[in-house]
């Protein structure tokens, strides 16, 4: 069998490993437009910050393709999929765009996402960057010597990581956030304001409720103009305004797409020979109970693995995605899972704060089942909430203690025993067995 994979990051790499754990014979060809793709995308801001060295970012060894017997077509962009003939067309960037084609029996689309760029005048000036690839990091690094002040547009995960990195490099940084709070896609106002105060204390300037309307300068950036007309001088602008799924290839091939490529519980697209995984895939979200894209690393890896197993003819059911993020700035960690800012009144929220210890904890419930959680500065047991979310456990018996500092695995043992549908993860059996 010939398996083709487009995209070689979290989802693609995880798929390759899963295929080879079961099948040593099938041919695997991976097409990637990045020339050296075996790095961890999540670590590029760490590299920019200088908190890791170049070595750490390559999270798979150089011999990876050889070890796994993979034909790696690197520096090549897939341009067309013919679903009927089961062929992919791709252009070799280095060979002057020479077009070649590849036949496949099964195809995985793992093309990920691209940063959304601001549609404001001046975004094409030198010194304006998104932060998505190791190439971006290297370009930014190469001009850092000339930078004294930087502006970050967007107060999400990537914007703040970029700001942290630049601050760590001794730059003066201001972050401009359109929403009234930072991290608005990830955490609620209460926890965000605690994080914001903490970050500001460490010397990063954060301006909420403000966005840039123009980037000024001749060829290179010299500053930004904000929506209230005020100006901020800087030599570098980083845009962190979220991502959009790379669906064009699939869409043009007639594969069903919405915000992402729509997949079923086996990660299969509307074409039975074609699967999708990672930032490009839109799948059932267990907390929202509707389709969604959670563009995060663990989801990409798990989907890549399951899609791969299903391409080999297995029927591995995917339970669905769940949003989750972990961040730490200057020693203050925050982790969030699922729905953190419920909009409808069918949800109940329980919050516990401890001003002295700078702790903020919250769970969001629907019919006494947790569907979301935030933990700031007390994060160690939040993974247990994740298990309670996925297994849809009625937590009524522990509702009054679940946000306490002493909450731990022991406190859900009785729930596991009583859970209506049991816990899916087989490791929980070990506990029940002894009760």
């Amino acid at each position: 069998m010939q398996i083709a994979i487009i995209g070689c990051s979290a989802a693609g790499i995880s798929a390759i490993e899963a295929i080879r754990s079961k099948d040593k014979k099938s041919r695997i060809t991976v097409i990637s437009d990045e020339k050296r793709p075996l790095y961890s995308r999540c670590l590029i801001s760490y590299l920019l910050a200088g908190t890791i060295d170049e070595k750490t970012i390559w999270y798979r060894p150089d011999g990876f393709f050889k070890q796994n017997k993979v034909d790696a077509v690197l520096g090549a962009k897939a341009t067309k999929i013919d679903t009927e003939k089961k062929e992919i067309f791709f252009e070799r960037v280095r060979l002057g765009g020479r077009v070649e084609k590849l036949k496949f029996d099964k195809l995985l689309i793992a093309t990920g996402a691209s940063p959304k760029l601001e549609k404001i005048p001046g975004v094409d000036k030198k010194g304006v960057f998104p932060l998505r690839t190791i190439g971006h990091t290297q370009e930014i690094q190469s001009m850092l010597g000339r930078v004294k002040k930087a502006a970050v547009l967007g107060g999400g995960l990537i914007g703040l990581r970029a700001a942290y990195a630049l601050k760590n490099r001794g730059k003066e940084v201001s972050v401009f956030v359109r929403s009234p709070q930072i991290l608005s896609q990830i955490i609620d106002e209460g926890s965000a304001s605690m994080m914001q105060k903490h970050i500001e204390k460490k010397g990063i300037n954060i301006v909420t409720g403000r966005s840039a309307k123009e980037i000024s300068g001749k060829d290179s950036v010299s500053g930004i103009i904000l929506d209230d007309g005020s100006k901020y001088d800087c030599e570098l602008v980083i845009i962190g305004k979220g991502v959009s799924a790379n669906i064009d290839l699939a869409k043009a091939a007639g594969i069903k797409t919405n915000w992402g490529i729509v997949v079923d519980e086996f990660l299969r697209t509307s074409d039975k020979n074609i699967f999708a995984a990672g930032d490009v895939a839109e799948s059932f979200d267990v907390a929202l109970e509707e389709n969604s894209i959670n563009a995060i690393w663990p989801v990409a890896c798990e989907q890549g693995r399951l899609a791969a197993l299903n391409m080999l003819g297995n029927e591995e059911r995917y339970d669905g995605t769940l949003a989750m993020n972990s961040l730490e700035f200057f020693g203050l960690p925050v982790i969030s899972i699922g729905i953190t800012k419920p909009k409808k009144d069918i949800y109940e929220e329980i919050v516990r704060t401890d001003a002295e210890k700078n702790i903020y904890k919250k769970i969001v419930l629907r019919n006494n089942v947790i569907v979301g959680a935030i933990a700031l500065n007390s994060v160690d047991t939040i993974g247990i909430f994740g298990a309670l979310i996925k297994n849809k456990v009625d937590i009524t018996p522990i509702k009054d203690i679940i946000l306490e500092d002493y909450f731990d695995y022991g406190k859900i043992v009785n729930l596991i025993k009583g859970a209506k549908y049991g816990f899916k993860e087989k490791e929980f059996k070990e506990t029940i067995m002894t009760l």
Binding site: S326, E328, D380, Y409, G410, E425, F428
Partner: protein, 156 residues
Amino acid sequence: MKKIFCDIKKCIGCSACEIACAIEHSKSKKINEAIKEIPLPIKRRKAQAVDKGITISTGCHHCEDAPCVTACMSGAMYKDKKTGETKHDEDRCVGCWMCVMTCPFGALTRQKQDKIVVKCDLCPDRDTPACVEACPTEALFIGTEKEFEEKLCKSR
């Protein structure tokens, strides 16, 4: 695979496992010196209350489809292909806490000074893990799941 199990019926929550674990993971491996080390040695096993008079000693379950391995964005957390053990390479760890976020048992501990995570390593320098050896009621057991089941059957 061989790993550590706890029989809740026998656990008395005495914390002997915690202390033995912390000492085993200290530099000196001696209690009188371990308590002076900086950073303090960290236990990877915890005695936890379940209900009145009921306790459990818990740590890494070395899950088959380990969510911490899937979530790890630096390649630090991995499965030992031979033993099935969930291992952690501290040199690769960047302290992103993605494993903490996904562990259904809350079994990982943050070592804040070096910004790395620490976990049960089944005591590679010993024949029997320190916690199992220290357990005064034989609640803790090292072996395969099948062996543990057999042991339970016999004792009940």
